[in-house]
Symmetry: C2
Subunit: 181 residues, 2 copies
Amino acid sequence: MKKFEEKTVKSEKIFSGKIIDLQVDEVTLPNGKTSNRELIKHPGAVAVIPITKDNKILFVEQYRKPLEKSLIEIPAGKLDENENPIAAAVRELEEETGYTTKGLSFVTSFYTSPGFADELIHIYITDQLVKMENPPEGDDDEFVELHELTLDEAKQYVLDERIHDAKTNYAILYLHALGRM
Amino acid sequence: MKKFEEKTVKSEKIFSGKIIDLQVDEVTLPNGKTSNRELIKHPGAVAVIPITKDNKILFVEQYRKPLEKSLIEIPAGKLDENENPIAAAVRELEEETGYTTKGLSFVTSFYTSPGFADELIHIYITDQLVKMENPPEGDDDEFVELHELTLDEAKQYVLDERIHDAKTNYAILYLHALGRM
């Protein structure tokens, strides 16, 4: 859909980083006037809702520098270049939790913040976890702690704002709606 | 919570825009090594789930330059400086839909993309809409079209990816879980 399309007049690359790029586009609006759009380019991300045999959910706690605090989130990470989302989801699950999975089901995907960023996140669920003997190591600048929580415990963490991000809040609401836990 | 805290060694401001700022922080990791973090600063945002007397949901369609396509979303917008989130939610509802409300209930709030951005979005719901005779005008670079959809229609739009963003997918799942429509 291209309703109210904004045509690019000029595009200026401001920054190219290891995670995100920033560009500012000058655009023609539907009324013929011009405006600027600040755009973050992101490779996209994946997340997994991992359910254990005991009907608990695996979460990872990690420090989030933009917020200057740690959050408890479902395992997630960004896509490597040209990486298949399901492969990325398995990789992030293994690196962050030490579990692999025999099968992943797709839940949904959504843009996290379409006003300024193109990040699209794909969410999967699995209840077919297998503990790994030698899990792969993650990025050398990532430090995570594993939490196993019941759905009720996770809901309490939402109220306490220790769980406080789009993909994880969505995941908990999804499990609640599913009525399976 | 400060688990695995990353202390800032140096912070470099790269860009200061009308919506977002970008800075790169050099940080000390828990293992004593250093790394860089690319951080987007955002003023925060609000969104409203507006339910009509006929039990339909109001959505707005708008062009999202980062995606180069239009999406159908619940009414939303960023916070003005020092603006109260409830006041911002009413303002965005009025500007984007032409309806005001007698009362808003808080649903949840979450960080949209805590890996690289500090944007926090607050979501409200109302079924007390009142059509305005002279609704305020929105930003002069915003063009939106109103849609009234049943919950079933909205779910179909999720499948078609015309609805495809965190706050709106969350809203639809929330209404589904509530079982009220």
